[in-house]
């Protein structure tokens, strides 16, 4: 089956109808120069020609505005965008008869993803990296990503011409104070995670403590469980062991890991203060 002339537009309409906020297409070959061997589209799907990226399911503006930190730290992340990606893979196969592989979320081993969703979003023109790290869409800001690798010869979108970061207020702040909201809220030099600068209006990251960021973002997650388990088994005192297992940290970690909640990420502070992360739409 040959693809219809407006295939990419049709696909994007289907993705938006399925729950995506944005959808873009990257050329599979564009990953070759930027992604390590084994983590390129053709490594996962022989004959890959395009990567479809969908974004959405971000916290709502009300979540960001909530005064309780527990709102975002327990409900800021959802996996809804992954179901959109999965459905798009099925859609491509059933509608057009081309192979489509839904890129699994998470990592294939260690911290290595199967395919970098951030890179995919950049190459598909739906976002660009921010000084804080996350890929931001120019119109909608921070969101979560899912990708589908396909053999369908879809016309690729180019990367965004202008990045969302730094936002105009951040440029002004840099000129005035030599910092930005994200760098100020989480400075690497003061037990934070981020370091960077703005040169000629462009954000440039000069430092990032990934390990520290991870322990803060995923305070209550699988590594938290492993940490408490080890501490408990190393603890000779029975009463202390009981406190460790029944304490808040372990309890919240178990909530985070199981199906009972969407308690996946706990730190959103760099995104909370980022003007670009909240998109262009103003809320009342």
């Amino acid at each position: 089956m040959t693809l219809p002339a407006d295939a990419a537009a049709t696909l994007k309409r289907a993705a938006l109808k399925g729950g995506a906020v944005v959808c873009g297409v990257a050329d599979a070959a564009a990953f070759d120069a930027l992604a390590p061997a084994g983590h390129r589209p053709a490594d996962l799907l022989p004959g890959a020609r395009a990567v479809v990226v969908v974004g959405g399911a971000a916290p709502r503006e009300g979540d960001w505005a909530a005064t309780s930190p527990w709102v975002l730290s327990t409900m800021g992340t959802t996996e809804r965008i992954q179901s959109v990606g999965r459905r798009m893979a099925q859609w491509i196969e059933s509608e057009w008869g081309y192979y489509a592989l839904f890129v699994p979320p998470g990592t294939s081993s260690g911290d290595q993803p199967f395919l970098s969703l951030m890179l995919a979003a950049e190459l598909a023109g739906v976002g660009s990296r921010s000084l804080a790290g996350p890929v931001l869409n120019r119109e909608h800001g921070f969101m979560y990503w899912s990708a589908v690798i396909t053999t369908a010869p879809l016309t690729a979108d180019g990367p965004e011409a202008e990045p969302a970061c730094p936002a105009p207020p951040c440029r002004e702040m840099w000129e005035r104070e030599g910092t930005t909201p994200c760098l100020r809220v989480c400075p690497l030099s003061d037990n934070g995670c981020l370091e960077g600068r703005i040169t000629n209006g462009r954000a440039e990251r000069t430092g990032y403590d990934a390990a520290r960021c991870r322990t803060r973002v995923h305070t209550h997650w699988i590594p938290g469980f492993q940490k408490v388990l080890e501490t408990t088994l190393d603890e000779p005192d029975k009463d202390k062991r009981k406190m460790l297992l029944y304490g808040d940290f372990m309890t919240r970690t178990l909530w985070a890991m199981t199906y009972s909640s969407t308690n996946i990420a706990q730190c959103f502070e760099c995104m909370r203060v980022c003007p670009a992360a909240h998109g262009l739409k103003e809320m009342r």
């Binding site: 799907l45 022989p46 080890e230 890991m257 199981t258």
Partner: protein
């Protein structure tokens, strides 16, 4: 004047629109022949008249082609059939005014579920048991995942398959030629069986072995690892076991973030039933 759409079609359409690949209907009476008292649909929902079964897609054709086996470990399941069942339940209760519940399918004692989805799928005419660990194969799509609902709504049932999906004609011919089939050949450790007159003559499998391979990472491996960790006296070794890949993957599998439910698909990989849907461009 347009003909009125039947109740059966309306219910099935709701399920198909919600993501089911196939939907079939069985009468509750059909369960009585093979299901012991206490496990029949009417034992679960008083006054039950029908069981509606939804089959959801397995891996995409692209996923089957992926040379990295870990992709199928994580994305092999879709679980959409459960959504379709809930949508049909809502439709039946809200639009048609009959009780409807999702049929309980998770094991409650050992491997025993309160109600067998495999048997429900067979009775609803959606598939038949195969030589490959008795996995239900749909004659058109091959491997699908099944969920069901029980309702007090009386519906015209679909007939069971006139011809079983397994053995596929190619497998029957292969058996005649060399005494085996693709699934039996690829996994002689788990599967045994024979074919006679183009029908399954005998089929059995080592469920414990199959289970430990199909679910290398899951609740079972979490329990196994945890016991070993707790029994390990050396703190250094404990540290390695707790933070090692096996235990981490087991935790990821029991967590909800990834759909890492099954890790072995080899008998289905070689099965020709439904393969036409896996051959794309």
């Amino acid at each position: 004047m347009e003909p009125a759409t039947s109740l059966e079609t309306r219910v099935k359409s709701a399920g198909l629109a919600a993501g089911a690949r196939v939907v079939g209907i069985a009468a509750v009476e059909a369960f009585r022949a093979a299901v012991p008292e206490g496990y029949r649909p009417e034992d679960i929902l008083p006054g039950a008249r029908s069981v509606i079964v939804a089959g959801g897609d397995g891996p995409t054709a692209g996923a089957w082609r992926c040379p990295d086996h870990r992709v199928m470990e994580i994305t092999g399941y879709d679980l959409r059939e459960n959504v379709a069942v809930h949508v049909m339940c809502d439709f039946i209760e809200r639009e048609l005014g009959h009780y409807a519940i999702q049929a309980p399918s998770l094991s409650v004692h050992g491997h025993e579920p309160p109600m067998s989805m495999m048997h429900a799928a067979e009775l609803a005419g959606l598939g038949s048991r195969s030589l490959a660990a008795h996995i239900i194969l749909n004659p058109e799509y091959g491997l699908l995942y099944y969920a069901a609902l029980i309702t007090t709504l009386p519906l015209e049932p679909d007939p069971p398959l006139a011809e079983p999906a397994c053995p596929h004609p190619g497998c029957a011919a292969m058996y005649k030629r060399i005494g085996t089939t693709p699934c039996l050949r690829v996994c002689p450790a788990c599967l045994t069986g024979s074919v006679k007159d183009n029908r399954i003559e005998r089929s059995t499998y080592d469920r414990e072995r199959c289970h430990s391979r199909a679910q290398t990472y899951g609740i079972g491996s979490f329990q196994k690892s945890l016991l070993q960790i707790v029994n390990e006296d050396d703190p250094e070794r404990r540290h390695t076991m707790i933070h090692g890949d096996f235990f981490t993957k087991s935790l990821e599998a029991v967590g909800f973030f990834r759909d890492s439910i099954a890790q072995c698909f080899e008998c289905m990989r070689v099965c020709p039933v439904g393969r036409k849907h896996r051959k794309l461009q």
